[in-house]
């Protein structure tokens, strides 16, 4: 016997309240967690969620972390609406970074204004290619993109490890697995003196705008939405399921690839093994937390960025383990999905 039954009219208001419920539940469970670890609860919260925002520098760091999350999540959200689950954005980010990094390394010593744009284009192509492989596997062999995208993200990390340990290793890098530090012409220019905020911000800004319009107005988006809500209706209307798969996976790979370039030509400044603290995975949560809506994703991106910063602060000030960031991310997704279950369903009342 099923304990839940679908609600005839799931509430729209609740759909948008769910992220707030999830945040509240995460904070509540978080307090319990701090308490069991023997940390003062209020101080812990202060360190985690307030302290990172007490300085201007903190806000600039928030922006730096939010940008890639928002950019990747915009691309992922489109696929999620069509129920095409790309969970390998991390791999697409890495391949984008590799392509962009390749441009930076081959143009080393040159000084030209086209280098950064070329890196962005190369990164977009790299990410799109890494998204195209699962699309091909799905449309030709019906291989689940959920599995192939995830597996390909491991392949991507291994390729990155090979490149920075081998061909692209910095000869003067004391054998560390990293490339040369990129020159200024291969880096985004800094926007705010004394911070790391750079011009890649405008890429994210433009992407938010474009995706907002795309989601609200385009016929392609309508086809994607129908494919996710009622696959049979999409088939009936003669919308191409294959086209949707290609579009969603290539598009989400593309945004992730650009985000990868944003990291290596921004805060990281080279290719190394730590170019992303799991942005590709965290962006999945951002997309859902933002209700797959272009503007919702912006808010969710900032929240997720704050969790990253808070996690770092908690490691420094409270001697908490690195895993604390992952725990908060995980709880957020868990409570969000949990809320969604109860928005779409209700407890079956036994007669």
């Amino acid at each position: 016997m099923h304990l839940l039954e679908p609600r005839p009219h799931p509430s729209r208001v609740m759909r948008w309240t769910a992220p707030l419920i999830a945040v509240a539940a995460t904070l509540l469970t978080g307090s319990f967690l701090f308490w069991t670890l023997g940390k003062p609860v209020l101080t812990s919260f202060h360190v985690f969620f307030i302290q990172p925002l007490e300085t201007g520098y903190g806000w600039s760091e928030l922006l730096i972390k939010a940008c890639p999350l928002i950019l990747i999540a915009q691309g992922l959200a489109i696929g999620f609406k069509a129920r095409i689950y790309n969970i390998g954005a991390e791999g697409q980010l890495i391949v984008g970074a590799l392509f962009g990094g390749g441009v930076a390394i081959t143009t080393e010593g040159m000084d030209a204004a086209w280098i950064v744009p070329a890196m962005v284009v190369a990164g977009a192509i790299g990410g799109a290619l890494w998204g195209a492989i699962p699309a091909l596997l799905r449309t030709r062999f019906n291989a689940s993109e959920t599995l192939t995208t995830l597996m390909l993200s491991y392949v991507a990390s291994l390729i990155l490890a090979y490149m920075v340990n081998g061909p692209w290793r910095d000869p003067e890098g004391m054998n560390f697995p990293q490339s040369i530090m990129f020159g200024d012409s291969a880096l985004f220019s800094i926007l705010l003196e004394g911070s790391r905020v750079n011009t890649s911000l405008f890429i994210t800004l433009a992407a938010v705008l474009l995706f907002w319009i795309f989601n609200a107005k385009s016929f392609m988006h309508f086809q994607i939405e129908v494919g996710g809500l009622a696959p049979a209706a999409s088939h009936y209307a003669g919308f191409s399921a294959k086209q949707t798969v290609w579009f969603c996976l290539v598009m989400s790979g593309l945004t992730a690839g650009i985000a990868g370039v944003g990291e290596i030509a921004g805060p990281v400044g080279q290719l190394n093994l730590n170019i992303s603290p799991g942005y590709g995975f965290a962006a999945i949560i951002v997309a859902y937390l933002g209700r797959l809506h272009a503007l919702g994703i912006v808010l969710a991106g900032f929240l997720m960025a704050l969790i990253y910063l808070g996690g770092e602060a908690a490691q420094v000030s409270l001697q908490m383990p690195y895993a604390i960031t992952g725990i908060f991310q995980g709880m957020l997704l868990f409570f969000l999905l949990g809320s969604d279950v109860f928005i779409d369903n209700r407890i079956r009342r036994l007669v």
Binding site: P8, H9, K217, S218, F219, M220, F222, E225, V226, L229, A230, A232, A233, H235, Y236, A237, G238, F239, S240, V351
Partner: protein, 519 residues
């Protein structure tokens, strides 16, 4: 009558749902051995009332008396223990299990499979419903599956048997057989509650009838003493609407032709199509009769383009289109109304303007890849007005429409596309009498403007009302289409059983087969 204790007595049954009163102060009495009809349109509250008796739904108020004792039926298992059996309209059988295994699954007592198989065989033969207990359910026809459901109830020796629209899946001949069985059961003292909206069935089978409309009892009658007109008035509050089929005076040219279409089934328990040929002419409605599961789904997929086939097998105006998908065929003027309205013909959580966009985006609703939502809204509003879609506007979600109103919207949307060919599956399935009449008339009117229409329907009466020619699809084969005037229910019923008038002596062969079938 006062000496007999009624088998079942309902007093003042009321059931309210948040938005609708399903039953209001419903009372009825069924005597032992009586066949009692519950007559009403879709949505009149028949099913809710039966579910209350069967313990699947709890009433808000009212009393249920069984053999004079008040009972409080908490769930279907208790109902079965009290001797109430129910045969649902939609079967709940496992296709990968045998007949006996399926029956064993719902018995509330421990069982011994071989002994059960023997009992199944005995009971089924006693009531003229022969069944092989060891056959897999997926190999059974729909009629045979219904026998499994009935035998499953009979094994528990019910005192009261409820049947919900049992004939919708049967050929006319199988209906006759079923009625014989029901009369035999009644003669043994079993009371039968028979739910239907088909007047002639109720007149030929039932002793008494209770008529429901909008959840209330609007009449009690002895059906044999009534006319279809008087029953209809009680059921829908007015005369049965009749469709008008004007004569088509345009050119009779073939528009859609299918030749030698053979198709493997698309699902594990589907039906293969074997060498199907048909022609739909401009200005006519071709009816495809037959019970669902005989290749209807496959034929519709192939015609609509959701499954593509050999290029030359399907032609539109002489040009091959078999290889084109549904979108490409729509571009050429073939529109389609599918059987499943929610989820295929319409996207449930989206508004009617979005649902207009689904197929009408070709009507200038796109500009540089962007949607002109204003146009979609206008289209949806026009469709709502022209086709009398009640309680809706362009912003209403498809899923909040009733079945009949949603069907009016979908049919209207497709008609407004100004098609050359229109394919319609089960146009009035689950639709109330009033809306059905509007839909049938809309199809007739459209055909008389020179559109070629193909209607697949399980309802024979419907096809006799609107189709100019009728062909029968049975076991994946299609009989040659014959003008309606040359057919009657009995002839169509024979073809449904899979016997076509191929040979010259077809008639004798057919009647011999019928004798065998009923023996």
């Amino acid at each position: 009558m006062s000496h007999t204790v009624p088998r079942l007595e309902l007093i003042g049954i009321t059931k309210r749902y948040p938005t609708i009163v399903a039953n209001e102060d419903v009372s009825l009495t069924v005597l032992p051995g009586e066949i009692h009809a519950v007559l009403g349109e879709n949505g009149a509250g028949k099913s809710t009332l039966m579910k209350i008796i069967y313990g699947a739904v709890k009433a808000d108020a009212g009393t249920v008396l069984l053999d004079g004792h008040e009972v409080n039926i908490a769930n279907p298992a208790q109902a079965r223990r009290l001797g109430i059996g129910m045969v649902f309209q939609h079967f709940s059988l496992f296709e990968t299990l045998t007949v006996a295994e399926n029956i064993a699954l719902v018995l509330d007592e421990p069982f011994d499979l071989p002994a059960l198989a023997t009992r199944v065989k005995e009971v089924s033969e006693h009531y003229g419903l022969p069944l092989d207990p060891n056959r897999m359910v997926h190999s059974l026809s729909v009629g045979e599956r219904q026998r499994v459901e009935i035998v499953r109830c009979l094994l528990q020796k019910p005192k009261l048997l409820i049947l919900d629209e049992p004939t919708s899946v049967l050929t006319p001949q199988a209906v006759v057989k079923l009625f014989e069985t029901l009369r035999q059961l009644a003669s043994e003292g079993v009371s039968i509650l028979y739910i239907s909206h088909k007047l002639h069935e109720i007149q030929s089978l039932c002793d008494h009838a209770t008529i429901l409309r909008n959840g209330k009892v609007t009449g009690k009658a002895v059906p044999r003493e009534e006319t279809p007109g008087s029953l209809a008035r009680m059921m829908i509050g007015r005369e049965l609407p009749v469709c008008e089929a004007p004569i088509y005076e345009g050119e009779h040219r073939p528009v859609l032709t299918v030749e030698g279409l053979t198709l493997e089934p698309t699902s594990p328990f589907g039906t293969a199509l074997k060498d199907i040929s048909l022609t739909v002419n401009a200005g006519e409605i071709l009816g495809i009769a037959g019970i669902s599961g005989n290749g209807q789904a496959e034929l519709l997929l192939a015609l609509s383009g959701e499954v593509t086939v050999e290029k030359e097998t399907i032609r539109l105006d002489g040009k091959p289109i078999g290889h084109l998908n549904s979108g490409q065929r729509r571009n050429r003027g073939i529109v389609y109304v599918p059987e499943e309205r929610l989820g295929r013909g319409a996207v449930p959580p989206l508004s009617l303007s979005h649902n207009a966009l689904l197929t009408a985006h070709r009507q200038g609703m796109k500009n540089w890849g962007l949607v002109r939502y204003g146009k979609a809204r206008d289209y949806a509003d026009e469709c709502v007005n022209r086709f009398d879609v009640r309680g809706a506007d362009a912003s209403t979600n498809a899923r909040s429409l009733s079945g009949g109103n949603l069907q009016k919207f979908i049919v209207g949307r497709e008609i407004m596309l100004k098609p050359e060919v229109m394919i319609v599956a089960q146009p009035t399935w689950g639709v109330d009498v009033g809306a059905s009449a509007i839909l049938r008339q809309a199809l007739l009117d459209l055909s008389r403007t020179g559109v070629a229409i193909l209607v697949v329907s399980e309802e024979l009466e419907e096809l006799f009302e609107i189709a100019d020619r009728i062909a029968v699809l049975a076991q994946g084969r299609l009989s040659p289409a014959q003008p309606r005037a040359e057919l009657n229910a009995e002839k169509v019923g024979l073809q449904m059983a899979g016997l076509f008038d191929h040979a010259d002596d077809g008639r004798t062969a057919a009647s011999m087969e019928l004798n065998n079938a009923s023996a």
